[in-house]
Amino acid sequence: MSTTVVETHRPIWRRLIGFNLLTGIVFGVVGYYIGWFIGHHITGASVAYFSGIDQNDISVTLGYLLGVGGFLIGLGFGVYPWARIRGYPPSLREKETQGASRYFGLCTDHKVVGIQYMIGIGLFFFIGGLNAMLIRVELLRPASQVFPAGQYLTLVGMHGTMMMGIMTSAILGPFANYFVPLMIGARRMAFPRIESLTFWLLMAAGAILTTTIFFGGFPTGWTGYEPLNSQANTGMDSYLVFFALVGISMCLLGLNMLATIITMRAPGLTWSRLPIFCWGVVSTAILNLLAAPVLIAVLGMAVFDRTVQTTFFNPQGGGSPYLYQNLFWVFGHPEVYILALPGMGIVLEILPVFARKPLWGYRLAVSGLLGVTLLSWLVWQHHLFVSGINSDLRPFYMLSTELISIPTGFTFLCGLMTLWRGQIRFSVPLLFSLAWFFNFLIGGLSGVFLSDVPSDVTTHGSFFSMAHFHYTIMGGLVFAFFAAIYFWAPKMFGYTLNERLGKIHFWVMFISFNSTFAPLFAIGFLGQPRRTVTYAQHLQFLNDWVSISAFILGGSMLIFLYNFVYSLLFARIRAPQNPWSSVSLEWQLPTPVPLHNFDRIPVITGEPYGYGSPGIAAIPAAGPAGGSA
């Protein structure tokens, strides 16, 4: 039996020289300076047209683009296209070696890419979270104290942009890449190199966004609104290139997921037998595929406005800033569901395992996910209610936004009915899933206030809307993310995360999360606007409360980090193959999962959630291999 595993025993210095992250960084820096040099040449006297431009956005933008190109070439992404240009036949798998080095470059093993995503996204989540802590430090006092207004805006912008950009792949990146092939009985993703490319593009994007501090930051927040966008200094270019790269990554990720699920399902795995998590992935991937191109297009227009002086968004030149707002939210509102839908899929996947019942209303749940996907295209103008849109448009967008609560309600109904009279075991993944319901309910209900024109007029742009979207996005996405980590870590890493530490993490995070964001509803009602460094004196108590809660919330992440490192590196208690007694296909595989997943292609002969069927244990036969810290 032959495998593609290539054992490498070369000395370390020799291994550092090949295509890997180190080479990628070096090539990236070189590429940046080549672009920077070309940009300066263009903006010099050689081309008269550009000589009148007062800031050198061309240099910065070209630097970033060539830097990304160099980074990818250094990682090894240039080898295959170059060979194909010369006519060599295609291949599927690349750099599927053993050892730690496979995590630091191009690798086509979907399980490696899943773990790369988890670590990479975790890194940028940490940076975004640190920004949030700094914001709350600043808001401990009503007057500006640590950061001047401009720096504060950059801080808020970096936090929001990092979270809304990188976290779009928080579920699909680690968990869908790792588990979709296993769940559908496939040996790989449809396009393994593209799978790896999506990850490294995201990492390049995150690095570029952090460099904005060298160019003075950007003042627009995560939405990048015009005309501030066009007027901002070169730090704005970091934002534009960052989000465009995120958009390309999202689009390719969605394409790859859809192609995989459409074409590579095992025999017998009909659409009506597809695990609900995969349906969540399908819904999200559709939005990724179709919404991200609109984002790339609008950012392309903004880059053109800043570099070659087009006037898409300049009203004095025949353009309009409202064009930006419209196009941005055509992407931006589906993006909210790109963040929420995978969480719904994960929660509905986990509940049957811990309730020992089949998923209630499978088809209803699927229709809920698809209904949200469809309706998310019809609501974007509610973000423009107070921007001066034609008032005749308001009722339609108000109603279409409120309508979206119906398919969302389907998923709630299916989840709660699955729990009804189940043999519930309150393990950590289930706790996070239940918290998801609580948080998302509050987020959803407060969303009705924002979709309703009369109340939106008073709450728009205030901390109320900030509380709302943190309840939906952090309450929905991040809680589902942790549910997924605790649930799937035994399969991904071969070790179970410590249950006791996990419960401590959960309770501290759940309580501090609500203690942080619930008061923001009140703060918003009392009139504190977003993105403003100062606030009224009488709001200090509430703001201090929120800041202290936020610090505890940040501390809860450290509990998780400690648990993660302790369990995987020090305790190292081997997890059984199927610690939760799940009937799902991924748990039937040995741990660690073999390189090519399946020796034999499985044939699916039944429903995905056959709990209660003969032969399925009513209560998990073996608990997770936990232990005390």
Partner: protein
């Protein structure tokens, strides 16, 4: 509930993954990519009608902004011609007329490159720049990205053509000698069973996408030059 198929496969079989599966993947990808491309250009279509309806500062379409209709028509015609040649090449490929399809693909590639050249000529010779109002902005943005997508499609075509030329003497159904495009230096052989048989599904997927892109080019021509 899951059971396993009677036919056992091991990693040797995995290494020779059937090309039909990849063909299906390429077919799906071609359609999905077309959907994404449509939404991308939808943004420019929206921008066109939005800015035209607002006509801010009366600068939607100043009098001196006159699009190069002849060159624009030529770009569109060359794109359509190239896509048509690729479609005809698919028919040749299916009928195992290998030299004929290679010839058509080579001409299609040259015609596609010609479209790019004509577009560059149009940009450099017309009498207005990107800063000359809303229409000029949409014109430059739309045509620039259109060319970018054309370059991508032509790269795909070149890959298929180069493989077909490099292995032109390999009999139908035979495996080529090792020399795959993977970046693994230690790889002993192909991981796709008969990778040359992938040329046809690749060509079919490309043909769909290229035709779709040419259709978008026609739409762009109508909107930018005729309306």
């Amino acid at each position: 509930m899951t059971e396993f198929a009677a036919h056992e496969t091991d990693y040797e079989v995995v290494e020779g993954e059937p090309a039909e599966l990849l063909g299906r993947n390429l077919n799906s990808a071609g359609h999905l990519l077309a959907s994404a491309t449509a939404f991308f250009f939808l943004a420019f279509l929206f921008a066109y009608f939005y800015l035209r309806s607002l006509n801010n500062a009366g600068l939607w379409h100043p009098k001196h902004v006159s699009p190069p209709v002849t060159l624009g028509t030529l770009v569109m015609a060359l794109t359509v011609l190239s896509a048509t040649l690729v479609r005809l090449g698919v028919a040749d490929q299916r009928a195992a007329r290998r030299p004929e399809w290679r010839l058509k693909a080579a001409i299609a590639l040259a015609v596609g490159i010609g479209a790019i050249v004509v577009q560059v000529v149009a940009w450099t010779t017309m009498g207005f720049g990107p800063a000359d109002g809303g229409y000029a902005s949409v014109f430059f943005g739309w045509t620039a990205f259109n060319i970018l997508f054309i370059v991508g499609a032509l790269y795909w075509l070149e890959n298929l053509l180069a493989t077909a030329i490099r292995y032109r003497n390999v009999p139908v159904g035979a495996d080529p000698k090792p020399g795959h495009a993977s970046g693994d230096p230690g790889r002993p052989g192909h991981d796709i069973g008969n990778p040359l048989s992938l040329v046809r599904p690749g060509l079919e997927a490309l043909s769909f996408y290229w035709t779709f892109l040419a259709g978008l080019g026609v739409l762009a021509w109508v909107v930018l030059y005729l309306l």
